[in-house]
């Protein structure tokens, strides 16, 4: 059905009483997601109320997980405190921590990543839109929405989408849904130079998931994560894969919005990454409008049914 999460996944929200966290908690509850707990230190014992929902708030992630059985956290904590919030998930032994927060210092993430080596907790993000496992209802209601993505544009189905960029993910999902093609899971891994789960990690999960029949891989300039994923696909993945790289027109040395989107050499340009995609049998979307069509071309060539 999906990777990492499913509509049955119980999630908790760190920073549930902040404006940003509260807004997206309400949207997730409306979408039918199992939001079972909130964490705001000092507000333990209170409740987050929305319509008929009454979500208990705890002082710590460990308390929340123990009392409610939540296995996944969505982190909406402000940047100065976000690294600490991620480590708290690891300490509590959660399966997954999804860090939405934008603007965490790189040094904090370098330390967090080192501290989480060997941890059973997987980190997605930071600076990401989160994940969606669409549900069976109208506008994919009843799914698991972790983070800030518009869940209603999804449709339950068999395409996996992985991207560093939020709005480009939505663009891809919208194109798929408009063509009647559903998604198994969409994963936003985030736009920061130091993040948890990589493109390759997600691609491996999609490749192994019997319910995911095709994959859209969306990348951008900077770093070599897309190249690493593409090489693995060439050697190990038979499923149709479409790829898009943003930033062909970006000037070298300038940070394009995302902290990680900066061309540092000749290997991390859009042109270099697109060349590797082609060499690895990934169908390249010529423009961002072409992402769903590119996947359809690849699926047709391999005789795979996407819906």
């Amino acid at each position: 059905m999906s990777i990492l999460i499913s509509p049955a996944t119980k999630i908790l929200i760190q920073g549930i009483t902040g404006e940003f966290g509260a807004r997206h908690t309400r949207l997730s509850l409306d979408y039918g997601t199992q939001v079972v707990a909130g964490v705001t230190p000092g507000k333990g014992g209170q409740f987050f109320e929305h319509g008929t929902h009454r979500v208990p708030i705890f002082n710590s992630v460990a308390d929340a997980a123990k009392a409610t059985g939540a296995t996944v956290s969505a982190i909406f904590v402000p940047p100065p405190f976000a690294a600490d919030a991620i480590l708290e998930c690891s300490d509590a032994g959660l399966d997954l921590a999804v860090a939405i927060t934008e603007g965490i210092p790189i040094r904090d993430m370098v330390r967090v990543k080192r501290a989480m080596a060997g941890s059973k907790t997987r980190l997605v993000g930071p600076n990401c839109p989160g994940m969606v496992a669409p549900g069976p209802g109208k506008d994919s209601h009843g799914g698991c929405r972790i983070g800030i993505a518009p869940g209603y544009i999804n449709k339950q189905g068999h395409v996996g989408v992985v991207s560093r960029s939020g709005t480009l993910t939505y663009e891809a999902v919208f194109q798929l849904t408009t063509k009647g093609i559903g998604q198994s899971t969409t994963v936003g891994i985030g736009g920061d130079p130091v993040n948890g789960t990589s493109h390759l990690d997600v691609i491996k999960l999609f490749a192994a998931d019997p319910d995911t029949h095709g994959i859209i891989l969306i990348g951008e300039i900077g770093g070599n994560a897309e190249v690493e994923a593409a090489r693995w696909i060439k050697a190990n993945c038979q499923k149709p894969v479409a790829g898009f790289i943003a930033g062909a027109t970006a000037p070298a040395g300038r940070r394009m919005g995302h902290a990680g989107a900066i061309v540092g050499g000749t290997e991390d340009t859009a042109a270099a990454k697109i060349a590797v995609f082609k060499e690895c049998g990934i169908e390249v979307a010529v423009t961002p409008s072409d992402m769903a069509d590119a996947l359809l071309r690849s699926a047709k060539a391999r005789g795979v049914k996407l819906s």
Partner: protein, 393 residues
């Protein structure tokens, strides 16, 4: 955030990284006081702008060289007079160049040998990496390309920090011995502390030099900082030089907009960094040239859209505007109202193509249609890009 060489060297000194003695001057009156701090004899004069390639640069009045070796302090004073207030064009400044608002006098060191030393983040390992080479004073990219075996890298475990054995290993690889080895080891350890403690994105010393008397000095210094960490370094924020930044980019940051000026004539206004980058790409794909990168963020307000339009129109090269909004959570009708208000407020006369998709897009399109503005509705990104390219052609 970037800082000037003279500021970087002051920071180095604070961390025990030796540099040639120097003094900055911001006015001709300062020259005498600054030079009085230096001993008599050969002196360097260095234009302080953020761009690289200063030595090979040319001033707009034809004077050549933004970095000069002078035999005497008197000559240094004259050279500084030609640089200060003058505009320096280098490979990295673009044709407009940068006005030199500070000159930096330093002792001209005797150079025995030049090296390269930098510390930055290695994305593949998520660890700091020290990059060093015996080939200093040249473009390190060329060294990496032509003689990769001359580039040495040390990856630092953030849990332990820079280990002594790693420093020793690097010292041997670079061929240092005796007093030089001792001084270089100390400099590398102190430079790493400077990088780590200040949340630097990169520190680069090119060249690092040895002198005939066994000293090891940072002859140049380039330092940039992680913008995300500036909140905990007010002392570094105070070093920011707004003269070095595009006024439109400064204005944009006041409204929480992420704007980068480019050379083209089609302005774009987009929500989300990835979508903003690919909007530029698709304009280029259909034969146009983007005038800017502009990300209004996930929850753009009416005020932000108005500010964005004003900033875009401040660029005289702009001949048309493409608005590309995928309203996931944000209400497209709110954005539409913002566009209408902005267009009326600034008296927009340029061609405008608007693509609205997502949450409440139908109402948003109706608002645009009812506004009486001469705008064109875009359907997909491809359709919208083709329309604006045609309109400005």
């Amino acid at each position: 955030m970037n800082i000037h060489e003279y500021q970087a060297k002051a920071l180095f000194e604070k961390y025990g990284v030796p540099v040639p003695k120097g003094a900055p001057a911001k006015t001709p009156e300062d020259f005498i006081n600054a030079l009085a701090e230096l001993p008599d004899g050969p002196t360097m004069v260095k234009s302080q702008i953020h761009a690289g390639g200063r030595g090979k640069g040319t001033f707009t009045d034809g004077f050549k060289g933004g970095v000069k070796f002078c035999k005497t302090k008197q000559e240094a004073k004259e050279m500084a007079g030609k640089m200060l207030g003058n505009t320096l064009v280098t490979l990295q400044t673009g044709p407009a160049g940068r006005k030199v608002q500070t000159v930096y006098f330093t002792v001209a060191s005797d150079i025995k040998k030049e090296y390269y030393l930098a510390i930055l983040l290695d994305r593949a390992t998520s660890r700091p990496v020290i990059v060093a080479s015996t080939e200093g004073g040249v473009e390190i990219e060329k060294v990496a390309h032509q003689t990769p075996e001359k580039i040495h890298k040390v990856f630092v475990d953030p849990a332990y920090g820079l280990a002594d054995f790693q420093v020793r290993d690097l010292i041997f690889k670079l061929g240092f011995a005796g007093a030089e080895a001792k001084n270089a080891a100390k400099l590398i350890r102190n430079l790493y502390a400077c990088f780590w403690e200040t949340d630097a994105a990169m520190v680069e010393v090119n060249p690092l030099i040895t002198t005939p008397t066994g000293e090891v000095l940072a002859l140049d210094a380039k330092v940039s900082f992680d913008d995300n960490a500036l909140f905990r370094h007010p002392e570094i924020v105070s070093l920011r030089d707004l003269n070095e930044e595009d006024p439109k980019e400064i204005e944009a940051s006041k409204y929480g907009l992420n704007y980068i000026a480019l050379d083209g004539n089609i302005a774009c206004l987009v929500n989300g960094a990835g979508l903003a980058m690919s909007t530029m790409d698709i304009i280029k794909h259909f034969g146009g040239t983007p005038a800017n990168f502009l990300d209004v963020g996930g929850g753009a307000s009416r005020e932000q859209v108005v500010a964005a339009f004003k900033i875009i129109l401040g660029d005289k090269n702009v001949k048309g505007i493409l608005v590309n909004i995928f309203g996931g959570i944000m209400d497209c009708n709110v954005i539409a109202q913002g566009i209408v208000d902005a267009a009326k407020e600034v008296g927009l006369k340029l061609p405008l193509v608007v693509r609205l998709e997502g949450n409440n897009a139908v109402a948003g399109k109706a608002t645009l249609a009812a506004s009486g503005l001469a705008l064109v509705n875009g359907d997909t990104m491809a359709d919208s890009a083709q329309k604006i390219v045609k309109l400005v052609a």
